[in-house]
Each structure stands twice: as C-alpha cells, then as structure tokens.
C-alpha cells in the first residue's frame, strides 16, 4: 500500500490506522490536525480511521508566523 504523508511517499506492507501511522511518525503533540485527501479527520477518529492505498495525508501544526 502506498500513501503520501506530507508530500513524501510511504510504502507500507499492511493496512494501517491513522493512529498507528502517527505513532510510527512519533507525532505526539495535541496541537495538530490531520487531513486525508483534503478532509479533516477529527482527533477522536484517529484510532478507527483506516488508511487506504493512494491516500494523501497532511499532518499540520502551528508554526511561527505573523
């Protein structure tokens, strides 16, 4: 299965939930958002949300800005 995470292609052997993906990426902050194919996935749904082949995932946070 191939998914794109923050513009980087990831090749995975098995199906994976969004929660597992974030754990593997060591994303721990509570101040973050995830879009899959430009749709925001609420934090409460990370555990049950299964990623599919071809999904485009954006992991987003707050950075310095004016």
């Amino acid at each position: 299965m191939k998914i794109t995470v923050n513009q980087k292609l990831l090749v995975l052997d098995d199906k994976i939930s969004l929660e597992c993906l974030l754990v593997n990426l060591a994303v721990t902050t509570k101040y973050m958002a995830v879009e899959v194919n430009e749709i925001i996935i609420p934090k409460s749904e990370y555990t049950k949300y299964q990623l599919k082949n071809g999904d485009v995932v954006e992991v987003i946070n707050a950075v310095g800005g004016g």
């Binding site: 101040y31 946070n61 950075v63 800005g65 004016g66």
Partner: protein
Amino acid sequence: MNKFIINNQIYNSRLIVGTGKYKSFDETKLAIEASGAEIVTVAIRRMNLGQNKDSPNLLEFIDPNKYTILPNTAGCYNAKDAVRTCNIAAEILNGEKLVKLEVLGDKKTLYPNSIETLKAAEILVKDGFKVMVYTTDDPLIAKELENIGCISVMPLASPIGSGLGLQNKYNILSIVENANVPIIVDAGVGTASDASIIMELGCDGVLMNTAIACAKDPILMASAMKKSVEAGYEAFRAGRIPKKRYASASSPVEDNICNDE
C-alpha cells in the same frame, strides 16, 4: 477608557505580536513576555516529520492556556485556501474559532486581495468563525468587512515586513472614525514611534512581528513596543494640543523684569 475586547474577552495589552522570524523558540518566548502581549499569532503549516522527531512544537513554548492563540492564513492567495486553513486551525486548537484572515494578492507586496478577502470573510462568519481580518487601508472595504460580521478589522500601515511605518494616516483615521469594531493596525511597523503614531490616531491596537523579531535585540525592542503602544494610547486619551504655525510662550509674558513692554 474603552476596554480592549476581542471575542468577548478583555485584554490589558493592545499589542498583538507574531511568532515568525525568531532565531529560536526560546527567543520567541522571551520577546513575547517582554512585549506584554496577550494575543499571539501563529501560522499553519505542514509538520516537520523529518529526522528531528523530537523537535519541539511552538505551542509547547507559547502555552495556549496562557495566551490567546490567533492562527493566521498567511500564504493563502484565494478564499478557498484561506477557509481550508481556518478549518485546520480550529482542529489544531481543539475547536477554537478565532482566526486572523489574510488573503494576499501577490508575493512582492503581500498586499491584501480585497475580493478574495471579502469572499472568505463571508464564508467564515457563516461557519461560526470569529474573524479578525487583515485588509488594505481602504475605508469602504474596511466597513464592508465589518458589515459582513468580522469582529476586528486590521488595516495595514504599510506592506508586511517593510518597516515603513504608517503611510496613509488619513485613511486609517477614516476607518477608525467609521468603525464599530476594534481597528488594529497590522503590518508595516518599523520602530517604536510608528506604533505610538498609530495609537495616537485612536486605533484600538497594533499587530506586529518583523519589527520585533528582526531587531538587533528583539527582546529589548519588544519592551520598547510595549511602552510605545501604551504611550500612544495614553496620548490619544489625553488629547493632543492643536498644531500652530508660530510659537506660544510657556512662561508668563507679564512682569518680566528684563523686558517691560
């Protein structure tokens, strides 16, 4: 004295600061503390998922329980992208819907695109966002944004990051005079006196980033800006003297032993 109220919350500081362009998160934190600001802007970007998995998050340094975090839509050039960014910001901040809307026109001037800004503002207000909106110094656009339901209108002093200070004093004055929402001048401040001049016009606040972050000593400049915003606002409330073409003696003209007229 009018209280400075944004989104039903009273703030003591009329200075809003950005968090961009600092050398480190430590410096960001110290400068914000020195500025006395209670509202702090942030940008919304992809998370760095590179090698530095333990790299700190900005909001670990700028505590959302201590500061009001104002996410911006910087870098958006159309209404659709700005609305998308605001929805992401609300998710990041666990449902907070206070946003700084900015829809830009081109990369050279970073001048606001008024048409797309108006479109985005309408959508966001309908979606329940509390919109503080960056705009040109056009009094008619400013009023239209207020009529749409933006909770604060934020005209520029001069282009973002330019440090040119207030370039169109009379337009800002017209905007302030016609407004029923807080007018916060956003962008263009270069040094402390620029902020005072803005506040002396009767503006409700000033938003700045580069003037502090890119000063030789950002923490000292943050302190200077705190004082200049306070000084300008006090001077506005005190009411300045009218300007006169010629002198008017401060000492009595009568009973001068050296000059009996």
